[in-house]
Symmetry: C2
Subunit: 573 residues, 2 copies
């Protein structure tokens, strides 16, 4: 691609950036200490610079060798970036953006002034009196934070009561501080945003799980979050990034509060830990997106969509220097794991040494794939939670059902049970619910409307008499709805059948025979199997077994003759 990118820093983010650049023959020069920092290990040429990314002379040397200068860490000297920019260097994102973002108090102020929802912040001097004033304004608890050079929870102190004032100031002494309103969040979300010369695009909304303030896990997409909130979070993230100058990827960390509103927590003006999953999970990774953005190469919204659900687990350094390679060796013992080690040499306790990504057709499958690795990561953890007692409760819906079986009344359950048994036989995760079209119309509507965003792929609806549930459910969802007419106590069920099958043009229901929940479940398996070869294989086996069974009966009837057969096997009518 014939242009050269200079990068301040050469850690794991730089390494993964270089891996993306190699594919496009984009030369990347790193300014970092040593000849073999993680990023330099994977980009072999003679133009890397051995030095500190805080050293103005080294940065100028980098700029002289590069067409674009960018960063993989925001704790750089923005005065130097300002100077090289004024001398004609193309710095991305803009040095003003980096300067504003690296001071968290300025960052929040900037977001606030652009009407981006974020936690209220109060500047202060390092005095008990100031904390007193902050607590009056923000209430207790609040967060005391360093304005600069903070990451992975370092530089943050939760102030729970007035007794903590002194403690907090001691912990964060010698730093410029500010206070932030406590966000009572139920979940932490993150979105990677790409700012190109003329667009602001976003990757999907992911869920991040932090432990001891360090990112541990990323779930893409966020679990149990509605499509509306997923979209809203992306919009908020794009809005937040749009108010900064320059090009590149930005990591936007957000809180989802108890009332489902969103707050921006922090922005990183560079690739981010919460975007590692994009390497395997999206057509274009956050690293390639960054390169495309700073080099004005094309990029499409669709390039950033999920190919499959993904989970990323960080490999943190343990007690021994080879704890991370031991972790990697353990991970390789499990199927479908993708290990990324960062080439950092000996492990240091708690340091990010690598990560593992799993992808799968469904989130629940990804969850079972990653579980052994989470267990390994947690092996030395005390059984009682080591999290701070004021850490907010996580309230995630972990269902991941593929089929919802809804009935208008619990009296329909006995008809549905043979169908539920079929779903179990095929290992299809399902949920059974009572959502009456007539007695709980709102619940029914809500349930049907949100089913697809919960990952449900197909709905079986049973109803009798004036059987409205299948049709009404179909009216509220784009998913395939399978209708099971239930025979009422009066009549043969033809009323139920016709109420379900004779839907108006525009709103189809796939109708089964009266009381035939077996076929409804089998039809659901066929629908899932249309895009799941393994399940289709199981179904084909089911068909072969069923054929075998009938052939066996035929053989017997041939051997015994029809009369003896009837005598032996048939229930007399």
């Amino acid at each position: 691609m014939a242009r050269t990118v200079g990068v301040l820093g050469g850690g794991q983010l730089g390494r993964m950036l270089a891996e993306a650049a190699n594919l496009l023959e984009i030369k990347v020069i790193f300014l970092d200490a040593g000849d073999f920092s993680p990023a330099k290990q994977v980009a072999n040429h003679r133009d890397h610079i051995d030095g500190s990314f805080k050293d103005a002379a080294a940065v100028k040397k980098l700029a002289a060798r590069s067409d674009v200068v960018t960063i993989e860490i925001e704790h750089v000297n923005t005065e130097t970036l300002e100077q090289i920019s004024s001398e004609g260097a193309d710095v991305q994102p803009h040095w003003r953006t980096i300067r504003t973002i690296q001071d968290k108090y300025l960052q929040k102020g900037h977001l606030h002034s652009h009407n981006v929802a974020t936690a209220e912040s109060v500047p202060l001097d390092a005095s008990v009196q100031d904390l007193e004033q902050a607590s009056e304004k923000l209430g207790l608890p609040f967060m005391l934070k360093s304005r600069k050079d903070a990451y992975d929870g370092k530089g943050n102190f939760p102030v729970k009561s007035k007794d903590d004032f002194k403690l907090a100031l001691d912990a964060l002494s010698n730093k410029d501080l500010y206070a932030e309103r406590w966000a009572n969040f139920k979940m932490e979300l993150a979105v990677m945003v790409v700012k190109t010369k003329d667009q602001v695009l976003s990757f999907p909304t992911v869920e991040t799980i932090h432990e001891n303030s360090v990112c541990k896990l990323t779930y893409a997409p966020a679990r149990g979050v509605s499509a509306a909130i997923n979209e809203e979070a992306q919009e908020l993230a794009r809005k937040a990034v749009a108010c900064f100058e320059g090009k590149g990827v930005f990591g936007v960390e957000m809180f989802l509060l108890e009332d489902d509103t969103l707050l921006v927590n922090e922005i990183a003006p560079r690739p981010h830990n919460s975007g590692h999953y994009t390497i395997e999970a999206c057509p274009v990774s956050q690293y390639e997106a960054h390169l495309r953005a700073v080099l004005d190469l094309p990029l499409f919204a669709e390039d950033l969509q999920l190919r499959e659900p993904a989970i990323m687990l960080n490999i943190l350094g343990g007690d021994s220097p080879d704890s991370h390679t031991q972790f990697a060796a353990e991970a390789l013992k499990h199927r479908r794991t993708k290990v990324h080690l960062y080439g950092k040499g000996s492990a240091k306790k708690g340091r990010k040494m690598g990560h593992i990504t799993v992808t799968a057709p469904t989130m629940s499958e990804a969850e079972s794939l990653i579980q052994p690795m989470i267990n390994y990561a947690d092996k030395d953890k005390p059984k009682a939670s080591s999290l701070s007692s004021i850490a907010p409760l996580k309230l995630v819906d972990k269902q991941n059902y593929l089929v919802a079986v809804v009935m208008g009344s619990d009296s329909d359950l006995s008809v549905l049970r043979p169908g539920l048994a079929i779903l179990e036989q095929f290992g299809v995760p399902y949920t059974a619910r009572i959502t009456s079209a007539h007695r709980t119309p709102t619940l029914m509507a809500e349930y049907a409307s949100s089913a697809s965003s919960k990952g449900i792929k197909c709905i079986i609806a049973a109803a009798g008499g004036a059987a409205h549930l299948p049709g009404m459910t179909a009216a509220y969802t784009a998913l395939p709805v399978i209708g099971v007419p239930v025979k009422p106590t009066i009549g043969d069920g033809m009323d139920s059948l016709l109420s379900i099958v004779n839907m108006p043009r525009g709103v189809p229901v796939g109708t089964m025979g009266v009381n035939n929940s077996t076929n409804a479940a089998l039809f659901a398996v066929r629908i899932l199997g249309a895009s799941d070869e393994e399940l289709r294989g199981k179904y084909e086996e089911y068909m072969r077994n069923s054929e075998k069974e009938v052939r066996e009966k035929d053989r017997r009837m041939l051997e015994m003759g029809a009369d003896a057969y009837a005598e032996k096997f048939m229930v007399k009518k």
Copy 2:
């Protein structure tokens, strides 16, 4: 992972091997000319060797620095490998394997002696008399081939008639030759096989398209090939590789003959062009699989499964030295493309300079994604085919329909047309067929049985009266079948409806209202949409539009009053 892999050769295969190794902190040392060959560019350390992989001293130096020695090209000196093995080096795959495979005549003989189906081969001296004898044994046409150092069709000469004898010998002079029976194949397939210390595993069967004897495209999985043949090809490939010693990945190229039998064409004892797609399409790529195999790291059959269908297109050098970067720049203008350039510097005409991979939830989507890149590759191609006139005809079913609409009689077509219009409106590729359960029972059975292997996801079946087609179709396939009862000339269609809906337990048909093909098509879209977010989005838009339309009518009726509305808009009954 603490072990070092030494590689003879340092081209694109070595480069992609190094990319996989970097993720696992596996050090790879390349023996190749220069300091910055494609592979060395992405592995920055001081232990690479600048030299020829045919130079014994250099190979020994490599072995001294490595825990395992492997190859990225088979045209190496196996005497040297034999010697270092005898001195204790771990060479993978075994030098005998490389020696046998690098001589194609020995390779075929070896396969033949292990009962692996392959084209009959005859050794010969370079004389017209020998060719005469070969033609008597093999018939005409036959292939004259160099035994060694041949690749990408170089060293092969198709002998069509006796007039070609002299021509062929002149073209392949100074080479050891053999003759091979002409394989009248309808398709070329390939399977990457991984031989570990105790297992032989395979990636899926792919379809390869060659142009001028160079691989141009790879389709994973092979299109229009039944699950049985896909499995059979993998079995044959595993059987072929199992008869060689040592560990690593092997590329097995095969012919699918007109009668659906398979022949092994050639084996490569290393990663292969037809396996590039695995980087994006499988949990573990062929490169990582090779590393895991030679280093005795764990590997699972599931690691080699397809995450999504994928297509790989080679970027071959064109007329200008930057033709490949121009190609890459063009590719980036299209959504969801993954570009791999190999760092080979200036392009040479016809040289492999890079490749492009697209993945998508369905093969037909992947095909539309890659099409602009194929057009670009073909831009300078003369309109008339430049292929040799005796190149075998390719007979691949290129349909990739997602929905099959079947009817018992052409008289049902008028009922189905509104449904077909819906499928067109949603851009769902469909095929409409007449397969009567009563008049063409065999065709109906064949069509239904093979539908899923053709990539069809859902079948709409329409029938009237004693309406057997939907149920019989469901009996022959595991795909979801949607039934449309057609109203016969006599009666209201209740006979058709009940014939379709009242299927026995075990064989479901999703039944629509009488003549309601619109709903059948909409239901098919819902089924496809269950695993295709884009299509589901379209469907949701359809629902919103339909709501808008009714609201608009409601507004009008409110404004005009019901009488005026009826007067103006209603057809009088």
